[in-house]
Symmetry: C2
Subunit: 143 residues, 2 copies
DNA sequence: AAAGTAGAAGAGTTTAAACTCTTTTATTAC
DNA sequence: GTAATAAAAGAGTTTAAACTCTTCTACTTT
């Protein structure tokens, strides 16, 4: 559905979101541990997301990654778009370049419906929405 | 959503299905041309599908791949399952191994809904269902 | 039976995603 | 201002998916 890179990105961002609620910045090491991912790899991903304005960071001691209130309102769709592009939301289900309403692949209509639902679901899911359930230990970011 | 291999597989099978309606067997060369895919690669894929009982084949002159009536009733879900496995239908949206109702990732519930829809859509889409629209040139398998 | 066609099988190459390592630069605490 | 800390940046490696090539085997037509 989404790339592995994107999966790591979402999990990392959900963790950063959780910590940002209490104004805490988190380092790469802490994030990697929390989501069980290769440390240098998640560093790369977060740098990329930082460049694209989806996460804030501070260097030096007490530094780390964090989100402001605007950042907490970003959606999963924003992350997916930043990492994987909009292929998931708009691409053809059978990989055809020119697939469209005018020149549809056999399953075009069916896929349009499903893709719309995926997009809506991901646009509706905001990074800040999961803080409480993560805090309560009802939801997990690793294993 | 599905692997490129799987996209080729579905397109090839839809083409074979179309030709099988008129009891015609089609060779790899013809299939590759019809769906615009690398010929040796689609050969591999079809061999694999043949081994798994999803397509029939005959060697020698006038040979090729074809489907019987049972084969025409196979669904896209069957193809996806044979090539990509059931990851798309049952895997975790964030890549967690142990994600389940008991130990859910943050987006578990949302993904369960969407996956169910994808599965239903693909189970409902049978290989033989598209013969007429392909014949009429309303739907396309390449470009 | 011979010739030609077509799939089967296995090994091999290419490419892109996934992941790692090293060096640099910025910031803060002391 | 110095030392420690943490992210930024770039280059490099590994792995798996995507794709290719060659040889073999089976079948059908003449």
């Amino acid at each position: 559905m989404v790339s592995k890179t994107c999966e790591y990105a979402i999990r990392a961002m959900l963790f950063v979101a959780q910590k940002s609620k209490s104004k805490t910045k988190v380092g790469v090491k802490q994030i990697a541990k929390a989501i069980d991912s290769p440390e240098p790899f998640i560093a790369k991903i977060l740098q990329d997301l930082g460049k694209k304005g989806l996460v804030l960071s501070a260097k030096g001691p007490t530094g780390g990654f964090y989100l402001d209130n605007a950042g907490l309102k970003k959606s999963l769709a924003d992350i997916v778009n930043a990492i994987d592009g909009d292929k998931l939301f708009t691409g053809c289900g059978l990989g055809l370049k020119s697939c469209s309403a005018k020149m549809p692949c056999p399953v075009h209509d069916e896929f349009v419906v499903v893709r719309k639902q995926i997009k809506a679901m991901m646009q509706n899911a905001k990074l800040g929405d999961y803080n409480t359930s993560l805090e309560l230990g009802e939801k997990y970011l690793k294993r």
